[in-house]
Structure formats: C-alpha cells, structure tokens
C-alpha cells in the first residue's frame, strides 16, 4: 500500500464500516414498513469500483453472499461509462447477483476526482413485490412470475431527481404502494448519506489512500480465509443432504457437494445436485456462495472480516440447470432460507468423518415458517410472519441447546402477548418438546411446540418449513432429532397433518400445532 501505514488501514476499516452501519441506521429510521423499521431485514454495503464488497453494515451471511456479486453482475449489464454522479439504480433479479425477488437492491455509484471510486448498495426486503399472494410468498408457486415483479437494472434517480414514470410502473404493480415508495426513498437516502461520508473520508485522507485501503482490506480478508482453509484437513470430501420435497410434492431433492482442499485454496463443486425444482426451493449461485462463506467461517475462521476478498481463495461451482443455478423462470422465494441451509448441512456432512469435533450435529436448519394472514382485531389486513426455532445439534463437548436458531437464520419469535393483542389468534401453549433431541453421548437440543387457535371466521395460512421428512442428522454415532410435524385440528375432532410447503385457509376454532425438530445427538450413547 503506497499511501497507507499499518495503522491507517485499521483506522479506515473502522471508518468504512461506520459508513455502512450508518446506511443501515438511515434505512431503519426512515423506512415505512415494520419489516425494515423493526425487524431490520436489510443490509448495507460499500464496494470498490469493480463491485467487490469492502464493508458491510451488519454481518448477515446470505446478504453478504449476494452483495459481493450484485454490483459485478450489474456492471455486466450496465457498463460503467453509463453511470453518472447522482444515479441510483434498482434491481432485484435473482440471476443478477441476487437471491429472491423481495430483496431489492439500490445501487449508487460514487465518483471522486472525476473517476468511479465505488458503490453504495442498500438491500431491503420489500414487504410486497407483487405476484400471486400478499407478501409475495407463494409456497405453491411453479413459475417465477407468480412470485412478483422482476426488475432488471433501472435508473430510478439521477442528479436531477426521480424518474417518476419508471417509479410509477413499479408502484402500480406492488401492494401497499405508499409504504413501498417510502421504503425505496429510505434506500436512496441511505446511499446518499454513504456518498457524502465517503467523499468526506477522501477529503481527510486522500482518495488514493482510501482506494489503497479498500484493496488492502480485500487482501487482509483473503489472507484470513486462506489461513482458515489451510487449517482444514487436505484432500477431497463429499457430502449430501436432502430437501423434504420440491415444493408441490414429490420425492426428496438432493444437494451434493464435492470439496477439494488443497493448501490454502478450496473448491466447492455442487454440480451433482439435482435438477431445478418445480416449486420455490430453487436458489442462486450467489446464495450458494454465501452458504460456503458461512460454513468456512463457522468451521475455521469466525474472525474473518466480511468482504469480497473472502471469496478469492474459494471456487464455488454450480451446474446451470440445477436447483442451485436454475432457469430464470423457476420460482425460488423459499430457497433463500431453506435450500441455503441444506447447503450448509451438506458441507458439514462432508467434513463429518474428518473433523467431527469442529462441527455441530444437524439442527433445525429451516426458517420453520407459519404465515397467518387475515383481518386483524381492528379490521385491517395483517400478516403474522412467525419463524420457529428447534433443537440445536449436539457437539463433542456439550449437549445441544433447546429451541434455538442455527446457521444461516437468526430471527426472533413473536411473543404470545403480542400475537394475542394484535391478531385474532390465541396461543394455547408454548412449551418444549420433551424427548425430541437425538440420542448420543451428548443429546441434541429439544424442539418446541406451539399451539395456535383461530378466533376469526377465516385466516390464510402458509407453511414453509423443512425437516418434516428428513430429520436433523446425528454426528459421530449420535441419533437423529425428531422431525417437524404440523397438525391441523378441526372443532369436529378430525385432524389432518399439514405439509411443509402449503397455502390453505383455516377457520374459527381450528387449532394449528407446530412441533419443531430436535437436534441431532453427538457420539454413541454410553
């Protein structure tokens, strides 16, 4: 680094991270939808001029995978010569460095001294992006068009202001346009704040120094990732894991990985995974890369700073036409949080024989979603988006913990006292699922059971969970955890078991009981 010393880099790392953090605060403070304001389903990043990620506002593994590639793919469609100071472009195309349609990215090129310095990227989960079902979450989708509006890169803002006509096209095709427009403006405000702060940083330290620091931060994360890889056993490892089904039904679908660790470089080849699926469990090569990044960090390098340099010593291969690199017309809204977790399971299972002491047994690797929709107590439409945790997998030195989120997901549940005050639902019981952890020297954690009674005449219900058919796996001789189970009890005494991906209506007096999976055990029981 010509312009920096050993301290300058740390100083600028903090400053660049602070800019990305500030972007997230701006979105959370000024967005309109609760999903952004309170749940914080968003990410912010700065990249260099080539699109390589330099700093991330909060370390959300899936978003890191996505934003490391978004700008690079964007530049493949929109040459840098077309970019102007003051531009803000929007896109949500999964095949363009994306994950699923609701995650909309605002891309703001930043220029200093007349040249392109980098990009501010604000990713936000829009609460609706159109499509066949409110919330754009269609468990039964068989085409991407049912999942909502597909936005190729569009310049919605220039230095002269917003492009009202293009924005109107979008707002005419999503539910809750006023709220969506508010969210979009929050993303623009965040990238504008980042531009101002980054230019101030250049004024203080010199543009050349900032550019050199960006390059050095990539080198630093690359070195850390290389050290992490070098700490793994050398050679080839194969692992597989299975989705319960393809969405609409059918047999379990396989994700398979062949890992080659050679010195400080590793290749993750997922080519042997199944072909693209009919339902919304497909995902993208970028989500696949995010799963690899997460697994490497969890197994070998928790301290690695998230940026584009992490990916240099990693080769991630997906086969076009497979469920990890599907044709653009295939649906994929659930792949973002379900298939991504299968990938982590497959990678862990590949290493299970070689380094069991560095892993955890299989856990509740699913969002475990129940989405209730209907008129709330005040008559307005409401959606209860409820993720359920299960038992953590055991480790070589301890039992799994009960009712937890594992790997790529980390969302809170909704308190019973909030659900009952705001939705026509009563929670009858919320308890641990005794005995559901896998057997072993150390037992897997227990899942939970939650029973919901419908108080309104009618509510819509979407299920989106895995591990109902294929249970969480045991490690080093430990037993599997109990699988998910969801039962619908009717007032007339009849009961039906629900599938893991379903859209249905439930009625007054119906009771939905979700039992989440226990974690896999570790080691042969004594």
């Amino acid at each position: 680094m010509s312009h920096t010393d050993p301290f300058q880099l740390e100083v600028l790392r903090h400053a660049l991270t602070a800019i990305a953090e500030e972007m997230s605060f701006v979105v959370m403070r000024s967005a309109r939808s609760p999903l952004l304001r309170e749940a914080g389903d968003l990410s912010s990043a700065l990249t260099d001029a080539t699109g390589a990620l330099v700093a991330q506002g909060r370390d959300i593994p899936v978003h890191l995978g996505v934003m490391s590639f978004t700008v690079g793919a964007f530049l493949g469609r929109v040459p840098a010569e077309r970019l102007r100071p003051g531009d803000v472009w929007f896109t949500n195309l999964p095949e363009l460095g994306g994950n699923h349609l609701p995650d909309v990215k605002a891309i703001h090129p930043i220029f200093a001294e007349g040249r392109l310095l980098g990009f501010a990227v604000s990713l936000a989960h829009w609460a609706d992006i159109g499509g066949a079902w409110p919330g754009s979450y269609v468990a039964a989708a068989t085409e991407s068009f049912q999942e909502g509006l597909r936005l190729p890169p569009l310049r919605l803002f220039t230095a002269d202001g917003p492009d009202a006509e293009k924005i109107a096209v979008i707002m005419h095709n999503v539910r809750g346009p006023a709220e969506r427009e508010g969210d979009m403006l929050a993303q623009v405000a965040a990238t504008a704040a980042a531009e101002q702060r980054l230019l101030a940083l250049c004024a203080t330290h010199g543009t050349g120094t900032v550019e050199a620091a960006m390059a050095a931060l990539h080198d630093r994360s690359e070195a850390a990732m290389r050290a992490a890889i070098a700490s793994l056993p050398q050679g080839e490892f194969t692992g597989e894991d299975f989705l319960d089904d393809d969405g609409p039904g059918g047999a379990p679908a396989a994700v398979r990985v062949r890992i080659a660790v050679g010195g400080d470089h590793a290749t993750f080849d997922f080519s042997a995974s199944d072909d693209a699926l009919a339902g919304p469990l497909n995902t993208t090569p970028y989500v696949t890369a995010a799963a690899v990044y997460y697994a490497m960090k969890a197994i070998a390098g928790p301290e690695i700073q998230p940026n584009g340099g992490c990916y240099r010593p990693l080769t991630v291969i997906t086969r076009p036409g497979s469920l990890l690199d599907p044709p653009a017309t295939r649906p994929l809204v659930g792949g973002n949080h379900e298939t991504s977790q299968r990938l982590v399971d497959a990678i862990f299972r590949a290493f299970a024989a070689a380094i069991p002491e560095r892993l955890s047994a299989g856990g509740s690797t699913t969002a475990g979603l129940l989405i209730f929709g209907g008129a709330g107590r005040d008559g307005a439409w409401k959606t209860l988006y409820e993720p359920h945790g299960g038992g953590e997998g055991a480790r070589h030195d301890r039992a799994g913990v009960a009712s937890a989120r594992v790997h790529l997901t980390n969302t809170n549940n909704t308190p019973t006292e909030i659900i009952e005050a705001e939705f026509p639902i009563r929670v009858i019981r919320h308890s641990l699922r005794r005995g559901s952890g896998g057997t072993g020297l150390h037992r897997g954690g227990e899942g939970a059971e939650r029973e919901y009674e419908v108080l309104a005449p009618e509510l819509s219900l979407t299920t989106m969970f895995e591990r109902r058919v294929i249970p969480p796996w045991g490690l080093a001789g430990g037993g599997p955890g109990a699988p998910y189970r969801c039962d619908l009890h009717h007032p007339d005494g009849t009961t039906e078991e629900l599938r893991g991906k379903a859209n249905l209506m439930v009625r007054q007096g119906d009771r939905v009981v979700l039992a989440t999976s226990g974690g896999g055990g570790y080691g042969e029981p004594d």
Binding site: D5, P6, F7, Q8, E10, V11, H14, T17, A18, E21, E22, F25, V26, R29, S30, R32, P34, R37, E38, D59, P61, L217, R220, A224, A227, A298, I299, P302, R358, L359, S360, D378, A380, H388, G389, E392, R395, D397, V401, A402, S403, A404, R405, V406, N410, T411, N412, N413, P415, T416, E417, I418, E420, A421, I428, R429, H430, S431, L432, A448
Partner: protein, 664 residues
C-alpha cells in the same frame, strides 16, 4: 456540621467520594475494601474530614447487583408461570448472539431449571379478561414452597393487563417465603419472556440487595438519609431498591452519565456526548438538552432487564486494552490487561503493550508524579514492550505509539457514530464530555478524529460517578402497557392509569417526608401507528385528549422519521418519571485567578519526527481568564488532560475545562 450531601461510588479498585454543603465542596478517592463496603465508606468520609454524623443525605452507587448478575452469583429462584407457558424462561426468543461460533451455546442457560417451574392453572387475555379463573391455588402455592427456595418469582401471562391472579398467589405466599418478585410490579409490560426474566433476575438478587442495604442502614446514624443510585440516573430509597434491586443493575455507569447530564445543564451545552474511558471498557451516551436518553431495552450478561436505564453504548476498548497485530493491521482490544497486572508502565508485571503504554511512550504521563499517590509511571518499560512490534513493523516506537492512539480513536469514534446516527443526531456538532481514568487523556484526539471541535473536562472528573450521586435527583420511573385506540379515545382509562402510576411512584418519596407539591412529574405516552412494533415517546402535560395526543404524536413522528401518515394510531403505554429536586451544588469554587505557571516542560510527541517541548500545569492552579494553548498537559493526582497542538484549554469559573479546536 450536619447536612452534607454525600455521593459515594464503590468500585472494584477505588471508592470515590464527593460531598457538598452550601458553597463547600470536597472530593477524595480511597482504595476499596472488597469485603467491607461500610469500611470503604467510613474511610472515604475520613479522607475528606467528615464523620458519619455530618451527613444529611448519602447517595450510594454500587456494583453489587451488577457483579452478581454478570458473575452468575444468583439466589436459586422458583417460578410460578401460566400452565402451558412454564418453559418460556428456557425457550426465550430463540435468536443467538454469536452467528459463527459453534462452540458458544446459542443462549445462556435458563435462569430457572425445569424442576423449579411450577404451572398455575389460570389464563388472562390481552385486555385483562379472565379466560380461566385461578384454579388449584393451594396446590400451586404448596408446590412452590416445597422447592425450598427463599426467592419466588410470579410471572403470569398478560399480568400487565390484569394482575389479579398474581396478587392472589402473592397473598398466599407472603409471610411464608422471605422474597417475592411479581412481574406486574417489576415490569408491567407485554412480552412474556422479557418480563419473566426480569422478574426472576429481580428475585435472584433480592436477598443480596436486602442484606447489603440493611447492613449499611444499621451502621449509619439514624439522622442520615440513605439513597441508592439507580440505572436511570436518579436516586431511590433503600426500601424501593430492596423491593426492586434490578433497578441498581447499571448503578455505576448511570451515575457517571447523571453527572454528565448535570454538567450539561449547568453549562448550557445542548448536545453532549459523554465519554467515560476506563481500563477495560469505554462507555458513551448521548445527552440532549441536559437529559440522557433512557431505554428499557438494556441487557446485562445477555439477559433482558426491562428497567428504565440510561442508554449507554459500551465498547471493549480502554486504557488497559492490549495492542494486537494481525494480518494487515494493528488493532486494539478487546483483550485487556485489566486492573491486574495493568499496563506495562504501571510496573506491576504487565508485559503486553496497551493503549495506556502508548500514552507513556509519547511523554504524556508524568514520570515524576505518582498516580493516586502510589503508582509510579515507567515510560521506559512501556517503550520496551512496544519494541518487538515496532521492529516487526519497521517503524520507530514513537510512530507505533502514535498509530495505536489513532486506531483506538477510530474504534471509539465508531461508538460515537452509532449512538448519534441511530437517533438522527449529527454528533460532530456536540461537545465531548470526558471523564474516567483515561477519558481526559484521549478526548482531544477522539474529538478531532470524529470531527468535533469542543471537549469539556468537568471538575472532579476522576470521581465523576460519585459526583453523579450528589447531582442526581431523587427519581423513580416506571412504564406500563395500556393499548388504547386513537379512535373513540378512552381518556378516562388513560387518566386512571396515570393517577395510579403517579401514586405508586410518589409513595416512597412521600414516606421520606417530601411534600407532594415539591415533586416534578414527567409523563410520556408511548404512541405508534397500528402495525408498528415500537412506539414513539410523546411528552404529555397532564391529562390528555385523543385529538391533542394524536396531533402531538404526528408532529413527533414527523420530526423523528420525516413523515406522518395520518393512519390509525394507538397508545401502547405510559411512562411516568417522578423526581424531587436536590439542593446540592456540583462544582468547585474557582481558585485565585493568577496566571498559571508550568511545573515542568517535557518533550511530548504529537506527530512523527521531533517531539515538542510541552509545558505541564497543575490543574488546581488554572482559572479564568487564563487560557492555555496546546501543546500542553494539565494534570492532577488522578488524571491527565492532553491539549494537543491546535487546541486551546479554557478553564471556567466552575472548575470545568473547555477545550476548543481551531479549525483551519
């Protein structure tokens, strides 16, 4: 000479005392006696020439409750919970703190093991309706007593809306178990996991707090009024603190912020960032118009506390933070040399380079002076521990030390950025108020890094938490979930809840003989658009109408978030703060106004290359209108203020030192 207002902060290493009576002001610092807190207090009083009989009000900040929670020294608790929800204390909110560390359990072990969770057959609805009357009361009570616990927590679903069942259980248990903690009293708010944990933690520290306060009370003269500092930066009676000891969970840091808020009010600084840099951590807080931000979302040892607390951002970087060198850069903390062995320059066995050692290398610390009269600073030893790293990096030791300070400043600047931009404030226009052992040394550098131009080092900056105890008002705060719809607004229900909360909070003050007319009441409605999960604070002035409250909410929402939508709104809850004013002064009277004379001039480095001859001044000799231009060092027994080149230090009549950066 009775009637002294005395503040005492007992920390792990030192006990700080501040006392004021009329225009007189005294302060001292003595070593803490770990096993004998009353002895620490007596020794501190002796150090300022006072006897217990001289004290009118004694306000005490303590880390006892904090340490018990952090170290897990908790009384075993039995929990009575609604049937079907006994496991809530273990299920939690299911998210984990560390995303990547598989070896770390995703959440702390449950505070109550399964065999001490007792199911109660009952059920309330969110609006207080009884869905299932309390059945088998005696069986539940007997089961709870059979566990043998001294502390019992009762946390039933929706008890904030209707506490009747909790009260019925409490009535049967009172007198049969020494410590009872009820969720509708500890935290009358929705969210069952957080309320349950707060109630259990409160039960778990009740014996310790009650016994400590009783001992203190017994050893002080009957004429002394005893108070404790609570986490929201006010003081509480010992009775209130014994019933709700969780109030004291952040007693120490809150006292410092309370002092900072008092100084901000006194000096008229509109926006202040308090900067408390100690040995291991740095705490920063935002103070607007003399009031520190209050939050109910603070956590301790990963557990939700749900008590109104000063909003403090704490980072793992302090004077004892160890300098590390990883691939590509030098970083500071979070590993710390702590109080033992401390930085290498303390000469007590520290062998790794720390932030404090960097200050020693640069010449800021006076080698002829004993820190607190006991510790001699050894810059040579500091340079020696930096030498290997400097060699590896190929830079002179001085350059390395300057780099370490830049990195430390960048780390702390990020915390300042966080607490301001989260609230939509541009912190660059604020004044940095520095205290704690290391704060005054780093303040100017941090301010320059963050783009600020004003630093205030207050009087008594090294005994600042004790000062906060003297400056704090007697103040109780509580908030309660209400859920009142904006349309057909039920003003009567709001008024009833308001009166009940005011009566509850005023009771301990009236019991201490304070006249009702002297109490100041601060009311805040927590209002939101329907569908939002978190509410906006809307100040109230007395009983409110629906129309008035709606308009005030929209105005506040627009100010905070840039828009107001006119959608349906609701009052989620009500927060009341009641305070009684204090008659204490917080500042030292100015010394005689003679021009200051340096005690010495030493070489100090502020940039690579040559050192600058830098005069040292004794802090006690500074007074207006004499200003000191940097480079200069201002010192007393406990702290060192660094005035870098480009800064001017201006002492004021109250003993504070304002430092201003000349912006070129």
């Amino acid at each position: 000479m009775a009637g002294w207002q005395v503040g005492i902060d007992i920390g792990g290493t030192f006990t700080d005392i501040v006392a004021s009576l009329g225009a007189e002001f005294r302060t001292a610092k003595v070593p803490s006696r770990a096993a004998d807190p009353v002895g620490s207090i007596t020794a501190a009083l002796a150090a300022i020439g006072l006897a217990p009989g001289d004290i009118g009000d004694l306000v005490h900040g303590t880390t006892r409750v904090t340490n018990a929670i952090v170290e897990g020294r908790l009384e075993p608790v039995t929990l009575l919970a609604t049937e079907g929800f006994e496991d809530i204390v273990e299920i939690g909110r299911q998210s984990r703190k560390d995303l990547y560390r598989l070896e770390v359990p995703p959440k702390p072990a449950p505070l109550v093991p399964r065999e001490r969770r007792i199911a109660v057959a009952e059920r309330m609805a969110h609006d207080g309706e009884v869905l299932r009357p309390l059945e088998a009361l005696e069986a539940a009570v007997d089961a709870a007593l059979a566990t043998g616990s001294r502390s019992i927590a009762i946390a039933l679903l929706h008890s904030y809306a209707n506490p009747a069942h909790e009260a019925m259980l409490a009535e049967r248990l009172r007198g049969r178990v020494p410590y009872l903690s009820l969720s509708h009293q500890v935290n009358p708010e929705a969210r069952e996991y957080e309320r349950t944990v707060a109630t259990v933690l409160n039960a778990a520290v009740m014996p310790l707090a009650a016994e400590y306060l009783a001992k203190l009370r017994a050893e002080l003269p009957a004429t002394t009024r005893l108070h404790v500092m609570h986490s929201a930066g006010g003081m509480a009676s010992p009775e209130a603190a014994a019933a709700r000891p969780l109030l004291m969970a952040l007693s120490g840091p809150a006292a410092g912020v309370a002092a900072a808020a008092a100084v901000a009010r006194e000096t008229g600084e509109a926006a202040v960032l308090s900067f408390d840099m100690g040995g291991t951590t740095t705490d920063v807080a935002l103070i607007l118009d003399g009031r520190a931000e209050i939050t109910a979302d603070a956590r301790l040892a990963d557990q939700p506390l749900r008590q109104p607390m000063v909003a403090i951002e704490s980072i793992g970087a302090g004077g004892g933070s160890i300098v590390q060198h990883g691939p590509g850069g030098v970083s500071v903390g979070p590993r710390s040399a702590g109080a033992e062995p401390g930085p290498a320059c303390y000469g007590r066995g520290g062998t790794e380079p720390t932030v404090c050692d960097a200050n020693a290398v640069l010449g800021y610390l006076n080698p002829r002076r004993k820190l607190g009269g006991t510790i001699t600073l050894d810059a040579g030893r500091a340079a020696a521990v930096f030498a290997p790293l400097a060699e590896r990096l190929g830079v002179p030791v001085v350059e390395l030390a300057l780099g370490v300070l830049r990195v430390a400043d960048a780390t702390m600047a990020r915390a300042l950025n966080k607490i301001t931009v989260e609230r939509g404030v541009d912190g660059r226009g604020a004044t940095l108020l520095a205290f704690g052992g290391m704060g005054p040394m780093h303040a100017a550098g941090l301010a320059a890094t963050y783009g600020m131009t004003r630093v205030l080092v207050p009087a008594a900056s090294s005994a600042f938490s004790a000062l906060g105890c003297v400056a704090a008002e007697m103040r109780y705060t509580q908030q309660r979930t209400l859920r009142l719809a904006g349309e057909n607004f039920d003003a009567a229900r709001l008024a009833t809840a308001r009166t009940a909360l005011i009566d509850e909070l005023a009771a301990p003050m009236l019991a201490q003989g304070i006249a009702r007319a002297a109490l100041a009441i601060e009311e805040t409605a927590l209002v939101r658009y329907r569908g939002q999960s978190y509410a906006v604070d809307v100040p109230l002035a007395g009983p409110a109408t629906g129309a008035g409250l709606g308009a005030a909410f929209e105005e506040r929402h627009r100010a905070l978030f840039g828009f107001a939508s006119g959608e349906a709104w609701e009052v989620l809850g009500l927060r009341i703060g009641i305070s009684a004013p204090r008659a204490s002064r917080i500042a030292t009277p100015p010394p005689a106004a003679a021009p200051p004379v340096p005690t010495a001039t030493d070489p100090c480095w502020f940039a690579p290359g040559a050192p600058l001859p830098t005069p040292r001044y004794e802090r006690a000799t500074l007074a207006p209108p004499h200003r000191i231009a940097g480079p200069a060092i201002i010192e007393d027994d406990w702290s060192t203020i660094v005035v870098p080149p480009g800064w001017v230090a201006a002492p004021d009549a109250a003993g504070h030192i304002l430092m201003l950066r000349e912006v070129t």
